[in-house]
Structures are given as structure tokens and as C-alpha cells.
């Protein structure tokens, strides 16, 4: 067995140091070592999107990243995005529109949505569907998810327009 490796990184704006096996995925590290269980594991091959987290501001698969690779980077999980209030409007839109059922895909879907919404302009429904192409949801049929992201984009656009210059 190879020896565990020490890593230091920032998770949800808090510094974390840990010893990890080099084969340990970031998703399993977050879930089982740090107990941040909002990140889910659905396929371990980058096909389902349940494990998406943000690394240095970009959405990535927690299953296709090793914990050791994340050494020195800044990770945001659903717990962090929630508690910072950054996606409160998105979460509210999902809640009102019932854009989730079992909720297993939801943290990953919210990651994709948040990255998309940080781009300029209001995405079309087709662009939203395209952005979600790596997020598998077996329950909703996707339409409510698309609706909620569209609603949030419109609300944010209006909100920004109303901000004093």
C-alpha cells in the first residue's frame, strides 16, 4: 500500500489539511473523510453529474479528480454555496417550481446552473438544456429544472438592471 499524502486546500472558504490515499477521489474525500455528503456519487465515470463541485471557480467532476490533485486549490461544495447565500435565489426557484424530486442529482444540477448563470446574458432554453447535457436526472424530466434556471436568469438580469450604476 502506498503511504497517505498530506494535502492542504480550502473547502467552502475554510482551510483544510488532511492525509489522503492517493487513489481517493475528491468526491469520496469530501463525502467520507470530511462528511460533506451533499456531493453525491452516481457513476464514477463522469457521465451523470451527481458529483459536481467547484474547483477554483470552475465546475468539475469530483469523481474524476483525485483528492491529491486538489491540493492547494479552493473547492466549493453544495454546502458552501448554500451557506454563503450565493445560490439562494436559484434554490428558491427550484423549490417553488418543484424542480427536484428525489434530490440526488440536485446538488450537481445547481453547480451547472450556477456556472451557466455567471455568464453574461440570459441563456435560451436550448442553451440551458445544452449546459445540462452532463447532468442526469431520472425523476423530473428536466423541464422544471430548465424553467427554474430560466426564471433565475431573468430575475438576476432584472435585478442587475435595477442596480444603481
Amino acid at each position: 500500500m502506498t503511504r497517505p499524502i498530506a494535502i492542504m486546500l480550502t473547502i467552502n472558504a475554510e482551510p483544510v489539511t488532511a492525509m489522503v490515499e492517493s487513489r481517493l477521489s475528491l468526491a469520496d474525500f469530501l463525502r467520507h473523510q470530511l462528511r460533506l455528503t451533499g456531493t453525491h456519487v452516481g457513476c464514477e465515470t463522469g457521465s451523470c453529474g451527481a458529483c459536481l463541485v467547484m474547483q477554483d471557480g470552475r465546475v468539475i467532476h469530483g469523481c474524476l479528480t483525485l483528492a491529491v490533485q486538489a491540493d492547494g486549490s479552493a473547492i466549493q461544495t453544495i454546502e458552501g454555496l448554500s451557506e454563503s447565500g450565493a445560490i439562494a435565489d436559484l434554490q428558491a426557484a427550484f423549490h417553488e417550481r418543484n424542480a427536484l424530486q428525489c434530490g440526488f442529482c440536485t446538488p450537481g444540477v445547481l453547480m451547472t446552473a450556477q456556472e451557466l448563470l455567471q455568464l453574461e446574458g440570459v441563456p435560451s432554453r436550448e442553451e440551458i438544456r445544452d449546459a445540462l447535457s452532463g447532468n442526469y436526472c431520472r425523476c423530473t424530466g428536466y423541464q422544471a429544472i430548465v424553467d427554474s434556471i430560466e426564471t433565475t436568469a431573468q430575475r438576476r438580469a432584472v435585478g442587475e438592471a435595477e442596480q444603481p450604476a
Binding site: 418543484n98 440526488f104 445540462l132 436526472c137
Partner: protein, 792 residues
């Protein structure tokens, strides 16, 4: 129509309102609690060595290297576990002469499908358990493999189980009326030979459980990603010889289920056995590859059917042959015969049809077992029937809407009994048809289709009517000897501050069970729904019941909650009458307050009443029965099933050069009786539709002749993703059942039931002008090109 449910117009009229789910906020914040999120002290992790062959004899097993591997605590073979676990058999008495051999957690002498577990390893981590599995040496002697339906039934066929004598698990014939005469006298006959691809549920959360055996009390707690905890309590107690009172099954948040998580899997039983052996908690999470190999499969059917027609476009008779391959074992405890049984009983169901014969054959093969999953047989019966109806329309030159209208069971025929013996209380076939016609703007679609065809664009429009079985009575499983409850239980409790806790046996998988139960309780009691907390999914804290299967949560669970609430309300008014020195029938409960019925004057809060009951019982009259906890059970007693109905419309565009199909739009008009929460019904329908669209275009487990799955990953097995799915328009007709006060029926399977049939008809409508048709789903580009004769 049932009488209105709300006695006075008040702020708590929740039934019929689109309200968001209180429990969704937790999931949105990443604070769900799924089974794999749970870690118990000293918990071990299981992994399995699995058969690489679809059929082989186990010659020898060497686990010595695995035992010595780092972190390994136990390595267990089939005979070790067989001592602890009574085998199970997937047959039921009402399927006459059905056979299936007893099944054990781990294979002992022979393996009969590729992926069958043979050896279990327990280690400190899952990775270490998998490392050790790689060190296990198993020698197999390969045997001939049987995969195809015809090969399995051929004389001299290889047998999946030698002891059974043949590969036929079950067969049945249904016959009604004068079928031969109907076909002899027919003005025309249309026929289909349809093939349905075997697919698999692919819930995003895989099967997961933690078994925690406590040897001192011989108590077993299982945290189980299942929709039916009570059923598993019964099964674990019986098969492991434990006291049922000491077996607790907890189903926390469940990441998708759809019927897949109510069957007994070998790994479930193995993990319980391992916990008993190790006397420590044991966790098992199926990985995605294991899920493809071992989750139930479904819909592997070939349906050959004929429809006899009269000159004036009426259906004179129908003949059906359904052959379905179910894998190596019939599933337990529901069997693998139910899907085929429902196909042959639902064919032709919406139509006036007396002369009917169907033959069903349920066949073993060296593949994973198939069994019940969302829609159970409905999509197959619907697609086959509706394909026949469209062919009949074409043959007779009738519009698809017209031929259906001409043949539907009509309003004055209810209650109606079908040729297969199903009894319909009341359906709304004509209303749904008319509503769909308007909703789609059918004439405009046809005009647009004609115009685009001139430009070489091939659009197709398809419709499909479904009839859905919901609210099942014990006629479904109980009569066959299965310990599967058709009733549900509810315990309601008022807390001292006037909140309400509702423990109920129907379970939540995200469809909104807890929400609608909360709506019913709050509405019927007259309290704010924020003050009602619904508890589900724990055999130790909720009453015994059927939980979630076959579309019953709203219809049966909802009625249970309604009756429990009325009982509680009556108790509260009784107590209030005593306290307030008024007649109970002059009082009313609204918005958590006791008011005078006539004047609306507030007399006291529910919390004040509860506080008196709990803390100052000395102030109450001595003979007052002050019960603020009530229990209620309810089982359907009228019609054996509450049938629902509806109709789907599909608009597609077929690229006839590439064979690619684009789904442009989908419409559903459905009637699930009383609607408790329209938004949740709509989202159930949409999710169900998309599962049907997956079946229509994408999903299929591809096996080779050696019984090896060729596409067992999410990159190769194609589930529908957001980009391929159109928006879905939904409308409702409401025909409540009169069997219950609530009047609700199920809606969970309505989406899946007709979506694939509607798309099949739409694609064939698009291909019509090219004089070809397709008779197989999923309709892949290659199959379209083959149908067109473009490629061989």
C-alpha cells in the same frame, strides 16, 4: 362527483393547490440523508466477486490470498451464508403452475447470469474490499448459454435450471367471447409483431444498504434505500429467523426508485448475513457497473397481435401472443410474471372489445431477472394496442382520433368489465380525447405536417390512449400468498403546543408523498400545513402498510390520512365541547383555532386545548375520552383497482437520411381523479413521460449470445438527457373514484404508460408516406435506416 371536501371556505383549503414540498429545501441545500451518507461505528464495507459467465458450474474457489489482503475482515462463500438465510422463491399461488427455483444470496454450485455474486468480502474500506476481490480465484466450467426467447423454448434447448425440466416459468391463456368467429367474419384484419428492448431503471442513487446486527438482543437494523420498508422487515425476519419486533428497516432519503428498489436482491440478503456473521454494521453500495448487471431489468417482450375490424371501423376481436424473457430467476416477492400478466390483461382495455384471446409465455434465460418497474406492462400493452389502432385507421381511411372515438368504452357503459375481467368504475376517454385534440391544435399540426412534407421534412404525429391500474387491493399480491400489504396505516398525534405529527406507512422517494399527506391532514383538520409534520419510512415509528408500489400513495395513503384526520378532528371537537361547555357539532376547527360554526367566533387555540389535555387533565370532566392520538388503517374495499386513463400526443421529426429522430413536443391529458397538488401531479407525469421517451428512443440493455452485457456503463447505455427531451404540455380531467372520500387515484405511471406508444405511432406516421414502418423500440437511427431499406 364526490361532494366538496372542505366544509367551510377557510384558510386551510389545501386539497387541489399547487404547493411546494417542505422537504425539498433540505435536498436543495445538500442536506439530504441518503443511506451512503450514514457512517456507523466499526462499519465494514462489502464487495462481491461475481460470475464472469452467464452459465457455469463452480469447480473451486480459493480465497486464501483475499483473506490475507490488507484491511480484510471476512471472506464468505455461498455455503457459509446458506446456513443463515432461508432461500426464497419467486412464485405466487394465483399464477397457477408457476415455477422458479429457490434462490440463495451467493451462488453455491452453479451461476446462471453474468454478474451473479459468488463470494463476499468484508473490509475496512470499499477500496480494500475490491482489492481483495481481485485476489479471489474461482474456477468455472462453462456451460451453454440460453439468451433468446425462441432459443429458450426450442425443443432440446439448454436449460437455465436442469431441475425445472424446461425454460417456461409460467404460461396462461385468457379467452373471452367468440374470437375465431370475429376473425372469420372480419372485414379487415391488421397485425403487429413488436419487439420491446430490455431496459433497466438506472436510478441515480444506486441500491444501497447498511445492515447492523446487534447480537445481544438479536436485533437487526437495516438502513435501506428501498420504497417498501415493511416488506423488508417481514422478509428479513422470516428468512433469517429473527423476531419481527426486533427487525427495524429505515428508508431515509431515497435517490430514485420507480419500482426497482422493492425487489429482494441477493446482495441485500448477503449483507444482512454478513452483519450477523461479523456482528458489525456492513455497508454495501452497488456501483454503476453492478447496477447495470444486477438491478432488475424490464420490458423484454415480443408481442404479436391481431385486430379484427368491421366494415364501419369497429373492433370485432383481438388476438395477442406475448412472450417475455425474465432472466434466470423470477423476482421475489412479486415474481417476474406480473409484467406479462398485465400486458395480456391491458391490451385493448380502453375499447369496446368482447372477443379476445391472449396467450402469455414467461421464459427463463441466462440473464439478470426482470421485474416490476414504473408502468409494469402498461407501456407494452399500450404501444401494441395503439399501434394496431393506428394501422386499423390507416387501413380503413379513418383519422386516428375518429377511430378511437368510435371504439372507446362510452360513458353510459360504466361500470364496465373488460374482456380480460378488469372492472372500470368510470373513465373519461372521450373527454380526454377531445381535450387533447384541442390542446395539440391537431388540425393545425396536420396542415403544418403536409406543408413541410412538400419541403422534404418528415414530421409525424402520434397519439396513444392508456388505462392505468392504481389503488390496488389485495387482489394484486395478497391473494397469491405474498406478504405485501394493500392497506396503509396512519397515526396522528397532536403535540402539547397544537402541532400535528403524522406517522404514515406510505413512503417518499421525491414524488411528494409527505407533502400531499400534509396537505390532506392540514386541510381536513383545519390547521396551517406548516404545523403538520409527516413522518415516513421507518418500521419502528410508523404503522405497517404497503408503502410505495403500483401507484397507491395518494389514493390509499391519502384516504388513510383523511380518515385518520376526521377521527382526530372528531376527538378534538368532543374535547373542545367539554371544555367550552358547547355541543361539539356547533364547533369547528379552522386555522388551528376552535371557532363557533355559526358565528366564526374564536373560542380557543388548538394548542390551548392540547395543553389542557396533557398538563391539566384534572380540569377535564372525568368521563371525557381525551385522545389526541388516533390510529387509522384503510384498504380499498370497492373495486379491486381504481383505473385511471388519459392520452398522449407526440410530435416528431425524422431525418430520413440519417435515421435520427427529434422529439419536438409531447402532450398529455390525464385523469387521476381528485388532484391533491396539481404541480406535483404534473411533475410526476413529466418525469414518467421522459422515462417512456427513453424507452422509445434510447434505452436498451444489449446482450450478446454469450449472455454478456455489451453496454453496461452510463456512456454506453443511453438514458434521456436534457438536450434530447422536449417540453411537455399537460392538461387534466378529474373523475374522482367514489370508492373513497378523497376520490384520488394514482398518477405515477401515467407518464410512462403511453409515451413510448405515442412516439412509436408518431414515427410511423412520419414514415408513412415512404411506405415503411418500424416495429421495434428503442427506435435507433440504425433501426430507422433499416426500416427504410437504406442499410441492411
Amino acid at each position: 362527483m364526490n361532494k366538496p371536501l372542505s366544509r367551510v371556505d377557510r384558510p386551510n383549503s389545501y386539497i387541489g393547490k399547487s404547493l411546494p414540498r417542505p422537504n425539498a429545501k433540505r435536498l436543495l441545500a445538500g442536506r439530504g440523508r441518503f443511506v451512503d451518507d450514514i457512517q456507523l461505528p466499526r462499519m465494514l464495507h462489502a464487495a462481491f466477486a461475481r460470475s464472469p459467465y452467464a452459465h457455469a458450474r463452480i469447480v473451486s474457489i480459493d480465497v486464501s490470498a483475499a483473506r490475507a489482503a490488507p484491511g480484510v475482515r471476512r471472506v464468505v462463500v455461498g455455503s457459509d451464508i446458506a446456513k443463515l438465510c432461508m432461500p426464497w422463491t419467486g412464485t405466487l399461488r394465483h399464477f397457477k403452475d408457476m415455477k422458479s427455483p429457490p434462490q440463495s444470496p451467493l451462488a453455491i454450485d452453479t451461476v446462471v447470469w453474468a454478474g451473479q455474486p459468488v463470494v463476499a468480502v468484508l473490509a475496512d474500506s470499499r477500496a480494500q474490499a475490491e482489492d481483495a476481490v481481485e485476489l479471489i480465484a474461482i474456477n468455472y466450467e462453462e456451460r451453454d448459454v440460453v439468451v433468446g426467447i425462441d432459443a429458450a423454448l426450442a425443443p432440446g434447448a439448454t436449460l437455465v435450471h436442469d431441475a425445472l425440466g424446461d425454460n417456461l416459468a409460467f404460461q396462461t391463456t385468457i379467452e373471452n367471447g367468440a374470437v375465431a368467429t370475429a376473425f372469420n367474419d372480419a372485414a379487415a384484419v391488421v397485425e403487429v409483431d413488436l419487439r420491446f428492448g430490455r431496459h433497466t431503471p438506472v436510478t441515480l442513487e444506486p441500491r444501497t444498504l447498511i445492515a447492523d446486527f446487534e447480537p445481544g438482543e438479536r436485533a437487526l437494523t437495516v438502513h435501506h434505500s428501498t420504497q417498501t420498508p415493511y416488506q423488508f422487515q417481514d422478509i428479513y425476519a422470516r428468512h433469517f429467523g429473527l423476531d419481527e419486533s426486533r427487525v427495524r428497516v429505515i428508508a431515509p432519503d431515497i435517490g430514485g426508485s420507480f419500482g426497482m428498489k422493492l425487489h429482494v436482491y441477493p446482495e441485500d440478503m448477503a449483507v444482512v448475513a454478513l452483519s450477523i456473521i461479523a456482528e458489525r454494521p456492513v455497508k454495501y453500495v452497488a456501483d454503476r457497473g453492478e447496477s447495470f448487471l444486477n438491478d432488475i431489468h424490464l420490458r423484454d417482450h415480443r408481442v404479436r397481435a391481431k385486430l379484427a375490424l368491421t366494415q364501419d371501423g369497429r373492433f370485432a376481436g383481438m388476438r395477442v401472443q406475448d412472450d417475455t424473457a425474465i432472466g434466470a430467476f423470477s423476482a421475489y416477492p412479486r415474481t417476474s410474471a406480473v409484467e406479462g400478466n398485465q400486458v395480456v390483461r391491458l391490451m385493448g382495455a380502453p375499447y369496446q372489445l368482447t372477443n379476445y384471446r391472449a396467450d402469455l409465455r414467461v421464459i427463463f434465460q441466462n440473464l439478470p431477472q426482470t421485474s416490476q418497474y414504473r408502468g409494469v406492462g402498461h407501456p407494452i400493452a399500450c404501444a401494441a394496442t395503439e399501434r394496431l389502432v393506428d394501422l386499423a385507421a390507416k387501413k380503413l381511411g379513418l383519422d386516428p382520433f375518429e377511430i378511437r372515438r368510435r371504439n372507446y368504452v362510452t360513458d353510459e357503459m360504466y361500470p364496465h368489465t373488460t374482456a380480460t375481467g378488469y372492472r372500470f368504475e368510470r373513465l373519461s376517454l372521450d373527454q380526454c380525447l377531445s381535450k387533447l385534440h384541442a390542446l395539440m391544435d391537431y388540425p393545425a399540426l396536420r396542415a403544418e405536417q403536409a406543408q413541410l412534407r412538400e419541403q422534404g421534412i418528415h414530421r409525424g404525429i402520434g397519439i396513444a390512449t392508456y388505462v392505468e391500474i392504481t389503488n390496488p387491493s389485495p387482489a394484486f399480491y395478497g391473494v397469491g400468498g405474498a406478504h405485501i400489504s394493500a392497506q396503509d396505516g396512519c397515526v396522528l398525534k397532536v403535540t402539547p403546543s397544537g402541532d400535528v405529527q403524522c406517522a404514515i406507512s406510505v413512503t417518499e422517494q421525491g414524488q411528494g408523498t409527505e407533502t400531499i399527506i400534509g396537505q390532506i391532514v392540514a386541510d381536513q383538520l383545519g390547521v396551517d400545513r406548516e404545523r403538520v409534520r409527516v413522518l415516513t419510512g421507518d418500521t419502528e415509528t410508523t404503522p405497517h402498510g404497503g408503502a410505495t408500489w403500483a401507484c397507491r400513495g395518494a389514493g390509499i395513503g391519502g384516504e388513510t390520512a383523511l380518515q385518520a384526520t376526521r377521527k382526530l378532528r372528531s376527538n378534538i371537537l368532543e374535547i373542545a365541547g367539554a371544555i367550552l361547555q358547547s355541543r361539539p357539532d356547533t364547533l369547528e376547527l379552522a386555522d388551528g383555532k376552535l371557532i363557533e360554526r355559526e358565528t366564526g367566533t374564536v373560542r380557543m387555540n388548538l394548542g390551548e386545548l392540547a395543553a389542557l389535555v396533557y398538563f391539566r387533565s384534572d380540569t377535564l370532566p372525568p368521563d371525557l375520552k381525551a385522545d389526541l392520538t388516533v390510529a387509522q388503517h384503510f384498504a380499498p374495499k370497492g373495486f379491486p383497482f381504481a383505473f385511471t386513463n388519459g392520452i398522449h400526443g407526440s410530435l416528431v421529426e425524422v431525418d430520413v437520411e440519417t435515421g435520427f429522430i427529434k422529439l419536438l413536443k409531447h402532450w398529455v391529458v390525464e385523469d387521476c381523479g381528485r388532484i391533491i397538488n396539481p404541480m406535483l401531479v404534473d411533475e410526476q407525469i413529466r418525469g414518467g413521460v421522459v422515462q417512456g421517451l427513453g424507452a422509445a428512443l434510447f434505452e436498451e440493455c444489449l446482450y450478446n449470445d454469450a449472455g454478456q452485457l455489451m453496454n453496461g456503463s452510463m456512456a454506453d447505455y443511453l438514458v434521456p438527457m436534457a438536450g434530447e427531451i422536449p417540453d411537455i404540455v399537460i392538461a387534466h380531467v378529474e373523475t374522482p373514484t367514489l370508492d373513497t372520500e378523497l376520490g384520488a387515484k394514482g398518477c405515477g405511471e401515467a407518464g410512462t404508460s403511453a409515451a413510448s406508444g405515442a412516439v412509436l405511432n408518431a414515427v410511423n406516421d412520419a414514415l408513412g408516406p415512404l411506405q415503411v414502418q418500424i416495429s421495434q423500440i428503442p427506435m435507433t437511427p440504425q433501426r430507422i435506416l433499416r426500416a427504410l431499406g437504406t442499410v441492411q
